[in-house]
Amino acid sequence: MRPSFANGLGLALPVALLSVLWMGFSSPARAQGKDALERIERLADAFLLEEARALLDSLPAETRSGARGKLAEGRLLLCEGEAEAAASLVRAAIEESKGELGWKAFRNRIEATAAVLGGMRRAVGPSGRFAFYFRPGVDELLVSYADQALERQRRALEALLGYGPGFVVQVVIAPDEASLADLSGLTTEQIERTGTVGVTKYGRIQILSPRRLATGYPWIETLAHELTHVFVSRASRDEAPIWLHEGLAKLLEQRWKDVPLAPLLPEEAYLLDRAAREGRLIPLRRLHPSIAHLPSQEDAALAYAETASMVRYVFQRSGEDGIQKLLEALAGGAAIDLALEAAAKLDMKRLQRWWRQEVAGTRQTPAPVVQLMAKRFKRGRTTAGGTLESLLEPEARKLLRIGDLLRLRGHLEAAVYEYRQASRLIPSPTPALTDRLAACLLELDRPAEAEPMLREITELYPNHSTAHVQIGQAYEALGKVEDAQAAYVRAVGLSPFHPALHCALGKLLERTKSAGAARAQENCALLSRHTSEL
């Protein structure tokens, strides 16, 4: 009998019918399981760990024990701080589904995380809401300061946005750039290129130890900034666009100091002003997926300035309640345009237009030029990246060099003369000059001369730790104990490993019988024990 079309159809039809029946019976359950697992992953990414755990626990055992289920659970465990357990679950998932390249990359990330965290100590802060991971040694002194600031920030944000985390937030202090890279998934090159010092990902706040930067960085504010990301993620169910995320974090990073909206740093204001004037503002779409992917520290600083100024504008339009509404709308699945409309009667086009006019029309820059102080990562005994000195006129640089040569040979008076000569050629105050001149003046016991100069530089470069230490010394020499304390505290917030800082602060606090004297003295002793790490 020859095969015919009718015969073929006769055979195919039952098979097709069976297939449809099988799919009809099996697919709803499978699809539901898959959706739930994806939701768990999204919830974990949005720091809604409690919700994610509850959802996972509610899933049937066969869904959880599948490859995808194991992966989702592994992801959740990683966010909950169980990196080892997460790694073994993801490995098991890969064993069942070997073709998933993305899973393997994720496994490698978890393994790297486990390796880094394995070499660290874990300590829950006094507030009981933050668990700190740090390498035993000098990094330990960061914990108490960090916990205090984070707890204050948490309270402030909870009051503003709600959605405070109901779990102990993990805070990792990465001992070096490579560890931060392993934890965050960025490369060390990206970290150094954009000066990335904090990343909030995988259920953790991760910052780089200020020890790794030549003059430190505002690490407490960075922690507060990263905690704000946690709140924004939770409030918006991770639906907030990156500009809103970063802008809010930037604006709210000083809430712990009772600063409602953090002002732009002079250097950021200068960058924004210049970019607006020259038409070189970074488009918002370039901020995705992260500011860490921008090509330079200058671009990263400009991006922060842009997002902060834009969100400030939203804040001004909508008020604090509006921000909460905006995030809730986003969490509810609304597009950003709709959410903005609901919260501030704005859409993205109008927002951008008005913001551009605002930025271009308002002079952001203070009168003197404030150059960006790039973060300088330590490389062995040297540091990467250039200093502000390279931006000066050749003649001024020459005089500074002559001053240095004189200072190195102990001719302080002569060095002061040369530095003053150089200052005449430098139009705006710069740390490249004041660091040197103030050091000489303090050494010559002329703090009164150093004070005004240092006050100006701390206003223009509030994150320059050397200036804060020097002005603290100047205040101390002049008998202005409270000012000196404040300067030292600020310096601790920037460069907490300055050897003499804690000792000086401890003495001052003890003299004034203020709180924190014991902690400063402990830190002084700790640093003197671990000088080799500095």
């Binding site: 490389r379 062995g380 005994r381 040297t382 540091t383 990467a384 990246g385 250039g386 200093t387 000195e389 390279s390 050749p394 640089r397 020459k398 005089l399 060099r401 002559i402 040569l405 004189l406 040979r409 001719h411 008076e413 002569a414 003369y417 040369e418």
Partner: protein
């Protein structure tokens, strides 16, 4: 059946009887043996004890052997009587039966007969029943006999008692007279001991030997003559190991022998000779006292003690008479050392010892003293080059003298060390940089002095004069230092001239202004404003000088960092080669070399670190960063490499070494980048020009390289096409050509050797040319053959005009060469035939490309010429190199036009070489290449021309005068014109 039973009945009593007898025999034997052994032992103890006593008492002489003989005989006798004889008796037939019969005489015959019957053969005439009854009866009787009754053990009692008594006596003797017994025992076994009478001789204060003569024979290695001593009044002083022979008249009458009792208690024998003198000898081994003792057969008398002292072995002393203190010398110089050494026992050798830094010591024997002289004064030469000190710049030199004896005590002496500074080009350069730093310090101090002590008002006149005199003294000192430094820098081959120029300029500026300022004070100008103005100018000059000097010092230091980086790269290449060799051979030597290379590389890294340390903190970190980061990795790599070699994994080691290449490449790039960045920051315009010129040169080089690659490809295709076309024609052509070459060779061989040198050289060149021609033809290289033939025309023309005969030879040779060339040219396909249309087009394109490159080179030259004011030295160097490049490229264009690809290729290669050289010079700076160069040691003699060397030989004078009358050859006219133009320029 029955028979069997009866037989068994017969055998059983018989066997029973025999068994009983055998038991008795066995017992008898044991008792006999034990008794014999006891007797023999008793006899042995008795005899040997007696002999020992005798020997101990009388001494061994003549007694020992006799004693042994007696003892031996006695022991043999006793053994025979007590052991052998009883045993033999027992072995006799029916000895046991008889013995039993003797004990029981009533049954004696029964037992004996039973024994006899028992030994009967099986076939016997006796009734078995009777015999059985007899055996049963005797056997029954035997059962009642006690063996102890027949063979009593009481026989052992006597010998046992004797043995005990004798043993007790021997032991008592050993306890009560141990010396006697010990001496006897020693003598018994041949050890020479004094007789017992001398063990405790009677001491006396009087000498026992008079007219004592001592002969001292010193150890051979001391090479001292024997010494005779008369008497022993002051005791004896001799080196350890000296053999002392004594001789003297015994004062004890009848004394036959005696002993020397040495400090350690041992004795050496004295024997009386036929002449009545007592003689003996001993070896000096220990200091103390020795005594002489004599024995006259009845008593021993011991004389007074004599002191015996060891001659002390003083350490050798050595002095370096010349040079002393500290010395500086060049790497290739020789230092003459004048040495004086002494030793009481004689010198063995003198060594030169160099200490380099902490721990490392180098040693070389300067003098081997064969005849063990006790005092040496000599000269030796030391050259750093011969010691292969490498880059070591400072050593501590000492000489050491070693004695040649084995006497305990100090064996060597060392001279006072002298410090030797070895001036290698590198160390001179380092020292020059250090001096520059010192001058910079002084300038900074002077600047500080001026800034902190400005001129005072005219009212404070005395203070102002004091101030200025202080400033003036300081300034003079600085200027003097600067002058000295300039002299040092001018001699330093590694310091660029522009650095010297900077110092000259700084010194001139400062000294001129200082003189002017000085004149103001000498002229007593009271105008304070003017003084201040002059002071300000001087301060500005000082500021400028400080900044400039700081710049050039750091630049030199960064260049040294770069030099260290280059060294490291070289060491890595060596390491890779050595590793390959090791992998191929796995020999110990290769392994050692490999480990040495690793150590060298580690030293290189350390040197790099030092260089980096010298600049760190004085320049921006970015200039030194790459080097700082990478050297750490390199150290780790080297550690790992060592481990891999130790674990026998050469493959991984090779991979590691290969990976290090990229690390070092990055390091060098980083260092170079740092240097460039530094220069850009500090030297602005000059660096810009250098950078741009480097870019242009590299671009030219890269394009020329590409064009050369294409030319090579074309040339290869050309040769392939040529070979294809010539495949059939070449053999007959070569055959015909070789005939002509043979003819040419014949002519050249028959050419008379000219007298003058030049013609001889030309003829030799011609002969070589013919040989090369033959070789080229035989290899089928026709084009080369044509070129060789062409080259031969020059020597032929030189030789042609000498005589008529030469002229004829030349013409014949020239005809042959021409014919050869024509034949090859005719047979040779034209290049147009060989190239395809596309290749011809490509050739034209290449020609244009080459022309464009030439124009670019010219343009670069013109641009550099414009920069002359900014970068004088660089422009001078660059222009010369670019001119050469231009000329080579011009030739390459012409050759391409003429479709001579091979010749064009050669010109292109030359142009590339010039470009590469210029590029290297620009990269390394003008003299950096010399930093790494080892100094060239001239070993051949240099002939200094004397006036007579410039005299023209008489025979040539006429020729020269004749030539001067005529016009200069046209080919030289152009060259002469260019020469004069250059001079005028």
């Amino acid at each position: 059946m029955r028979d069997d039973n009866s037989n068994r009945a017969f055998l059983r009593p018989k066997d029973q009887l025999l068994g009983q007898l055998a038991l008795l025999r066995h017992r008898a034997k044991i008792i006999a043996l034990l008794s014999g052994l006891a007797w023999t032992t008793t006899a042995a103890v008795l005899c040997l004890g007696t002999l020992t006593l005798v020997l101990g008492w009388w001494g061994p002489e003549n007694i020992r052997i006799a004693g042994w003989i007696v003892v031996g005989a006695a022991l043999l006798l006793v053994t025979g009587l007590s052991i052998v004889w009883p045993l033999v008796g027992l072995a006799r037939p029916f000895a046991v039966e008889r013995r039993v019969g003797k004990s029981l005489p009533t049954l004696a015959s029964d037992i004996l007969s039973a024994g006899q019957f028992a030994l009967l053969p099986s076939a016997h005439p006796f009734s078995e029943d009777l015999l059985t009854a007899h055996f049963e009866r005797v056997s029954g009787f035997m059962l009642s006999v006690r063996p102890s009754h027949v063979f009593s053990a009481t026989k052992l009692i006597l010998p046992g008692i004797c043995l005990c008594l004798v043993s007790i006596a021997a032991m008592l003797l050993g306890s009560f007279a141990p010396a006697l017994m010990r001496g006897g025992a020693m003598a018994l076994w041949g050890v020479d001991e004094p007789p017992a009478q001398l063990v405790a001789p009677t001491a006396t204060s009087k000498p026992v030997i008079s007219d004592l003569r001592l002969s001292l024979r010193y150890p051979d290695y001391l090479h001292r003559k024997p010494r005779q001593l008369e008497g022993l009044s002051g005791g004896l002083v001799a080196p350890l190991g000296t053999n002392v022979v004594l001789e003297g008249t015994p004062l004890l009458k009848e004394a036959t022998r005696g002993f020397v009792i040495l400090p350690d208690g041992s004795r050496s024998q004295l024997v009386r000779g036929d002449d009545g003198l007592m003689r003996g000898q001993f070896l000096v081994g220990m200091a103390g006292e020795f005594r002489l003792a004599l024995f006259d057969g009845r008593r021993a008398v011991e004389g007074p003690p004599y002191s015996l002292s060891l001659e002390p072995d003083a350490p050798p002393t050595i002095r370096l008479l010349r040079p002393q203190g500290s010395v500086e010398l060049n790497e290739t110089d020789e230092l003459t050392l004048e040495i004086e050494a002494q030793d009481d026992q004689g010198l063995g050798r003198i060594d030169l010892v160099l200490r380099i830094g902490a721990g490392l010591e180098m040693r070389r024997t300067l003098l081997d003293i064969e005849d063990r002289e006790r005092e040496v004064r000599t000269q030796a030469r030391f050259s750093p080059e011969s010691m292969r000190l490498g880059e070591v710049s400072q050593v501590e030199l000492t000489v050491e003298a070693f004695d040649n004896d084995t006497i305990t005590g100090p064996k060597y002496g060392r001279s006072e060390p002298i410090s030797v500074k070895i001036l290698t080009p590198k160390s001179r350069h380092s020292s020059a940089i250090e001096q520059q730093c010192e001058l910079l310090d002084s300038l900074v101090d002077l600047l500080a002095l001026r800034l902190t002590h400005p001129p005072l008002s005219s009212k404070q006149r005395s203070e102002e004069i004091e101030r200025f005199s202080k400033v003036s003294r300081f300034s003079e000192d600085v200027l003097t230092r600067a002058g000295k430094l300039i002299a040092t820098l001018s001699e330093d081959t590694l310091t660029p001239k522009r650095v010297v120029d900077v110092y000259l300029q700084v010194r001139d500026d400062l000294s001129n202004q200082f003189l002017f300022e000085n004149r103001l004070y000498i002229d007593d100008v009271a105008d304070q404003k003017k003084r201040r103005s002059v002071d300000r100018v001087q301060t500005r000059l000082l500021e400028s000088a400080v900044a400039r000097l700081d710049d050039i010092i750091i630049e030199q230091q960064l260049r040294r960092v770069s030099g260290s980086g280059d060294n490291l790269a070289r060491e890595r290449r060596d390491l890779a080669d050595l590793l390959e060799r090791y992998v191929a051979t796995f020999s110990d030597e290769a392994r050692r070399s490999l480990l040495d290379a690793i150590a060298r590389m580690e030293k290189g890294i350390a040197a790099l670190e030092r260089e980096l340390e010298s600049v760190r903190g004085r320049v921006d970190d970015t200039f030194v960063n790459p080097a700082s980061e990478l050297r750490i990795d390199l150290r780790g790599h080297l550690e790992k490499l060592r481990e891999l070699i130790a674990s026998g994994d050469p493959q991984a080691a090779m991979e590691l070494v290969a990976s290090m290449e990229s690390d070092i490449g990055r390091l060098l790039t980083g260092i170079e980048g740092g240097l460039r960045a530094f220069r850009t920051e500090r030297f602005g315009e000059q660096e810009r020009v250098t950078g741009e010129l480097l870019d242009r040169v590299m671009a030219l080089e890269s394009d020329q390289l590409q064009l050369r690659r294409e030319t090579i490809a074309l040339q290869r295709r050309y040769q392939e096409a040529l070979a294809k076309q010539m495949r059939r024609r070449i053999d007959p052509l070569v055959k015909a050509a070789l005939v002509k070459v043979d003819a040419m060779a014949k002519i050249v061989e028959n050419w008379d050797d000219p007298e003058d040198e030049i013609a001889r050289a030309e003829l030799a060149r011609l002969r070589v040319g013919v040989r090369e021609l033959r070789l080229a033809l035989s290899q089928g290289d026709l084009e080369e053959a044509r070129e060789v033939a062409l080259d031969m025309s020059e020597p032929m023309a030189e030789l042609a005009g000498r005589s008529k005969r030469d002229r004829a030879s030349y013409e014949r040779l020239s005809r042959l060469a021409q014919k050869l060339d024509d034949e090859i040219a005719e047979a040779y396909p034209k290049s147009a035939q060989l190239f395809t249309d596309s290749e011809r087009r490509r050739l034209r394109v290449m020609e244009e490309q080459q022309r464009l490159l030439m124009f670019r080179a010219r343009k670069t030259r013109a641009w550099l010429n414009e920069q002359n004011n900014e970068v004088r030295f660089l422009a001078h160097q660059g222009l010369a190199a670019l001119r050469a490049v231009d000329s080579k490229m011009d030739r390459a264009v012409s050759e391409l036009e003429a479709r001579r690809v091979r010749q064009s290729l050669s010109a292109q290669s030359s142009a590339l070489d010039e470009l590469a050289r210029l590029r290297e010079d620009l990269r390394r700076g003008d003299r950096v290449a010399a930093v790494e160069a080892r100094p060239v040691v001239l070993r051949s003699r240099v002939h200094m021309p004397a006036p007579e060397d410039f005299e023209v030989p008489r025979e040539h004078r006429e020729d020269i005068l004749e030539a001067m009358r005529g016009e200069s050859p046209s080919r030289y006219q152009e060259a002469i014109r260019r020469y004069y133009e250059t001079l005028v320029r």
